[in-house]
Symmetry: C2
Subunit: 500 residues, 2 copies
């Protein structure tokens, strides 16, 4: 058996070929697959993931990685790649096949039950399946191992090194700062935003979205946009990175900010080094950092006044009747309305984080056993009242709203908030590093910002873990103060509140 770095690269290329092939099937499934193709497609995807898992967890992989760990001829980047793969190999080996199969079967059943429960607004239909998943996840925490809190094992899968201890501290600060800020805003007169719900033609919306992606310098020779019911980004190499959007003819916001958001994810993937295909140095760091890219484009850039000074005239050109009497300043106010609501995916930039914190706290309580399944809906509603001041009208609009738990996705809601906070911190740094950034955005010149992201974040792939990367880019670890400053600077003036 060959134990060279070349053999390692060949193995990782082969694994990526299989995994990216599965991604193509997944993309097609969401975008173009005819309905009756679903069952066989699920089977095909399961076969590919089985082949990939088997290949990666083979003893020969372990032998190869051990040999390379002792190979003094490797350069620093090569060593980092091998180390990262070894970490991931070690994790993969912790899962017995029976566990993987049981998890797969349970999530299939749980998804069906969740779908039914939500449609019939009946939590009791989902509860026993969610309980099974929690039990399996508890077991998974043991398999993976942890030092302080079992939930740390789940967090680490999505955000390397993240712990409950860090998150608790962070989220305590978030609550301390954002609860009064949101209350302060709620006491003000709400800004006008009804005009965003006039009728906006599908094709024109689509064309405008393409304009925005081009302006962001999303490379259409290395990607494409299609329509799907839930917008997403997927990639099959750094040279084939695809986005999807959805278009709602009575809500202009959906298309615009899903385009910019997914465009931000896609720029990250397109900015990975193509030659590092399959290697950790050719893959995104973490979900949190990934989300920082989408959120920065969506919010710091895409909901700024400067951005719309450039793009609003174009939008008015597409929709003169609907927008001719609305000034860019009023448009800017409308797209930045802050208002507590029930549904996470349509929440504004500030209240969004309460949706996340609630999910994080409940997941953690379920995993550590301090919350019983039967008490979950009441706990959910109590927290919505406490943090957002609203009464959840039904479980369908409450505890049953997200698909994630039914897929066994515990431990990654937090990365959405982390992404926003990283975004604010990175953008603050970019503002320091790029003189005249706002003026550039106002002219639609986004290449310096993109170049800054490429240099500081994209090109490194998994070379550094999220904490290290954040320190390298901004000189300090993740701090909520950057987001808070951004939020106050932006939203207080929008509601005519003095920013003392």
């Amino acid at each position: 058996m060959e134990t060279s770095y070349k053999a390692y690269k060949a193995l990782l290329n082969k694994l990526s070929d299989i995994n990216y092939s599965a991604a193509v099937l997944g993309w097609d499934q969401e975008v173009y697959m005819p309905t009756k193709g679903a069952d066989r497609r699920a089977q095909q995807l399961s076969t590919l993931s089985g082949i990939s898992h088997e290949l990666f967890t083979a003893e020969t992989t372990g032998t190869l990685l051990e040999a390379l760990a002792k190979d003094a001829s490797l350069n620093e980047e090569e060593q980092a790649n091998v180390k990262e793969t070894a970490r991931s190999y070690k994790d993969s080996k912790k899962y017995p096949t029976e566990f993987v199969m049981l998890m797969s079967r349970t999530t299939s059943e749980a998804f069906q039950a969740w779908d039914k429960a939500r449609k019939s607004n009946d939590f009791s239909v989902f509860a026993p399946f969610l309980q099974k998943l929690i039990d399996l996840k508890k077991h998974e925490c043991k398999l993976l191992g942890y030092t302080e809190h079992p939930y740390d094992a789940l967090l680490d899968q999505f955000e390397r090194g993240m712990t409950c201890k860090q998150l608790d501290t962070l989220f305590d600060e978030v609550k301390r700062e954002l609860v009064p800020l949101v209350k302060q805003i709620a006491a003000c007169k709400q800004n006008e935003h009804a005009f965003l719900h006039l009728h906006f033609d599908k094709q024109k919306q689509w064309d405008f979205g393409i304009d925005l992606l081009k302006q962001m310098q999303y490379d259409f020779e290395s990607g494409r946009q299609d329509v799907s019911s839930h917008p997403f980004t997927t990639s099959f190499s750094a040279e084939d990175v695809r986005v999807t959007t959805r278009i709602n003819e009575t809500d202009l916001s959906e298309m615009i900010w899903s385009c910019i958001h997914e465009g931000g994810h896609a720029l990250y993937e397109q900015g990975l080094k193509a030659d590092n295909y399959g290697l950790p140095s050719g893959e995104a760091v973490s979900l949190g950092i990934h989300e920082s890219q989408s959120r920065m484009w969506e919010n710091q850039v895409g909901r700024s006044l400067a951005y719309w000074k450039k793009n609003y005239p174009t939008l008015q050109g597409y929709f003169p009747e609907q927008l001719k009497t609305i000034s860019v300043e009023d448009f800017y106010k409308a797209i930045n309305v802050v208002q507590p609501s029930f549904i996470r995916t349509s929440a504004d930039e500030l209240t969004y984080h309460f949706h996340i914190i609630i999910r994080y706290e409940l997941e953690k309580a379920l995993i550590e056993g301090s919350l019983e399944m039967k008490d979950l809906p009441a706990a959910w509603n109590k927290k919505y009242k406490e943090y957002l001041g609203i009464d959840v009208p039904s479980d369908a609009m409450g505890v049953l709203q997200d698909i994630h738990w039914s897929h066994g996705g515990f431990g990654y809601f937090a990365t959405y908030s982390l992404g926003s906070f990283y975004a604010a911190q990175f953008f603050a740094q970019a503002q320091k590093d790029i003189p005249g950034l706002e003026a550039q955005i106002e002219k639609g010149e986004l290449s310096n910002l993109l170049q800054w992201l490429r240099t500081n974040i994209h090109q490194h792939g998994k070379r550094y873990n999220p904490n290290e990367l954040c320190k390298r880019v901004t000189g300090e670890e993740l701090r909520f103060s950057h987001f808070l400053a951004y939020a106050k600077n932006k939203f207080l003036p929008l509601y005519g509140i003095d920013n003392k």
Copy 2:
């Protein structure tokens, strides 16, 4: 190791999962893939085909098949499946890995050379690569083995059991009958067809194509149509069978008959038994039989007067300006013009077969060594003069026109003609078996014909070889006389010639 029929089915399902996954990637490559994704896609496809080949040719597969060959508990269909897989396994094992890799490398180079040669109209650029391919194919004939003629080994890959001896007899008859028929037509006044080259809006053409596919009962819940530069059909199971078309705004014919042609292929794939996924009984018999389905729908149905009596008013509805003064009878004449030409893919129903015979005769001569590479272009041009009476203006429009040879595709052009002849024979039988078939077509009622095809051909998959199937369906082996009768009945009246 388990040697049950269940284990056999599991293996064949897994193989199909991999092969159909590759087909999804292939479909995407032709239809939606952004340009820069090409290199990694080629690598991903090659990895999947490698995994599939390795799995199929493993010694364990041989052991399993041997055990099942002796298993008396299998029913007739199960035995037929095992036998067919064993045949295919035996063939696969004949290829040494080095040969497969050398062939793959050579075809890659040959394709580049062919592309360059065609663009520069310079056969000498392609000749050395074509020679390499011929040498490899000669070697392949030896690897596969044959009884009479080396080329038989190549034919057998696409049309089980077909031999040069059979084809020579068949094609001699074709030439004997069709050369004078085409000459007779050429002496007549040509029918008017210039109006097919007016401007026809893309979207309207697309909509009409969808109408036609629906009328054929192509199931859009188990498939979809997209646009690609070369129309094709592909399938990922009997429940996900996709077609593509191309639309030329100044040639109405391209979209219409590519839609019907690919629709015919797709109905075959959708008619395979979904439960037989992965098994020989769930796969199409042969290229010739596959082509019989596309050609029958395209020609016997789709170029008949009855068909257009139903559909021409709809077409006129889409294009009133272009077609209002053209009667259905004149339209029928225009779409059935017979005229010798240089390019195979745009040839009419009759002269098409000379294009095929020329390629067959030249391939055979190259493989048996009776024709030297340097003499190929002259031999090509000589045959075009002899069979079609035309002077080939350039190698680009002559010997360099097809992509097939550069891909190493030797031995399957013949299946295109076989398909036409099978189509005529099957359709003649369908006319006997379905009373009032023509009247049904005239009303757009195509379900009895489809049902007849489902029952007699589609549902059997590879259960019978092409010869056996033809005998079962029509009571006799393939005979050219059915095509000839069809051709005379159709084309002589179209040109006002007495059919004595």
